[in-house]
């Protein structure tokens, strides 16, 4: 295969991988940062890094955790560079407000806001488990933690959400 053909094949592979998992990358980045604007920038950087290191991805079947790990690192880099503090819930950007805009399902709206308020340590494993479909063992590997610690965080995350929902329902 000549250089041009190799480049074309590489690009096709990248487009395929990025196209399939772009939504997951964006949602993961959004819930990590709680900011759709930041998420877009993080995903752009992550795609660029993924493109540069595409050869490190041996099998396309492993693309999803590979891409999400890149998103996770890029998100950390972003906040390291910007030295941003936690999100001020009382002073949301328009993009954040749009993210939390009400739908026709009150319970989902309440839970979305409750997830938004969750501490980072609880929100991330919850996203990886519920949205991305990973087992607690896989999440522990991705986050570089013990499985028991992940189970504890997930337990506490749901307990908080459950309490929030019950509190809202009691109003």
């Amino acid at each position: 295969m000549n250089e041009i053909d190799a480049d074309r094949e590489r690009r096709k592979r990248f487009d395929r991988v990025a196209g399939v998992f772009h939504q997951d990358m964006y949602r993961y980045a959004t819930w990590l940062s709680r900011n759709p604007d930041v998420a877009e920038e993080v995903v752009q950087e992550a795609l660029l890094r993924a493109w540069k290191s595409l050869d490190a991805l041996r099998e396309d079947e492993a693309a999803k955790p590979w891409l999400l790990t890149i998103v996770r690192r890029e998100n950390a880099r972003y906040f390291e560079r910007k030295r941003l503090e936690t999100v001020d819930i009382d002073n949301l950007t328009p993009a954040q407000s749009a993210m939390l805009a009400e739908t026709d399902d009150q319970e989902t709206d309440d839970i979305r806001q409750a997830i938004f308020r969750l501490e980072d340590d609880y929100r991330e494993p919850l996203v990886l488990q519920v949205l991305m479909g990973y087992s607690t063992k896989e999440i522990a590997e991705m986050m570089g933690m013990q499985q028991g610690a992940i189970l504890t965080r997930l337990h506490r995350a749901r307990l908080k959400l459950k309490d929030d929902v019950e509190r809202e329902a009691a109003r």
Partner: protein
């Protein structure tokens, strides 16, 4: 615990199901013999359905970043002090696009508007060239682009991060990018493209000049606050046309 003969007590079950409500949860059998825990499990699973729905926010269309050539890898992110909220390439490309709309201002009468406009339009079409990077193109790459049509040029005038043969005004010319203090600087070495006097190019966010150099001209365009004076002098000194 609300019943006997169960492998797991109710507290442990509830703790476990809150951590992992999936069907693979190892204590799932407990709920079959405990109505209270079965109800709790159903409640948590219903909560998870709402969590999933809440997490599945709308996703905008995929916007693919400008991808560098594989051979030109090691592209690095823009340092913080240079970054806007948009990706750097987008800001630069947008400013150049604006520059093309705004137009050019000429230093002297009779200068060639068309050449300046074509240069701006060309740069706009290769936004991938305008990346901040700390990696220079290889000597082979540089030689392949510069030597055949130009003659010689001292490549030590700066960190040359991009080299490509392009067509400007119907002639193949080397398109180079040098890393400047404020951002990437475009150089177009245009043998045979003779102009009477220097032409300034100005637009939103970018500025530069087309300099007459012997039997040709050289365009140098960078960020508006970039001081190009020394580079202009070095480029003129370092280029020798073969024509």
């Amino acid at each position: 615990m609300s019943g006997s003969g169960k492998a797991m007590n109710c507290d442990a079950f509830k703790e476990g199901i809150l951590a992992d409500p999936s069907a693979t949860f190892e204590g799932a059998g407990h709920a079959a013999a405990c109505n209270s825990c079965a109800a709790f499990q159903a409640e948590v699973q219903a909560l998870d359905t709402h969590i999933l729905k809440a997490l599945a926010i709308d996703v905008p269309d995929l916007v693919m970043p400008e991808l560098p050539r594989v051979a030109d890898d090691n592209v690095v992110s823009l340092p913080v002090f240079r970054r806007s909220r948009l990706p750097g390439w987008f800001a630069i490309a947008a400013s150049i696009a604006l520059a093309a709309v705004v137009g050019v201002r000429l230093l002297g009468p009779g200068a060639d508007l068309t050449l300046a406009e074509e240069i701006l339009a060309h740069i706009d079409h290769e936004p991938g060239a305008l990346r901040v990077t700390d990696v220079a193109v290889t000597d082979d790459r540089f030689s392949a682009v510069v030597r055949p049509v130009t003659g010689t040029m001292d490549r030590n005038i700066g960190l040359i991060s991009y080299a490509q043969s392009c067509v400007i005004n119907g002639r193949e010319v080397p398109h180079l990018v040098i890393q400047g203090e404020k951002g990437p600087i475009t150089l177009l070495l245009m043998p045979k493209e003779m102009i009477d006097m220097a032409q300034a190019i100005e637009g939103a966010g970018v500025s530069g000049v087309i300099l007459p150099v012997g039997n040709g001209s050289i365009a140098i365009i960078g960020e508006r606050d970039e001081d190009l004076t020394e580079l202009e002098r070095n480029v003129i000194d370092s280029v020798e046309w073969s024509i």
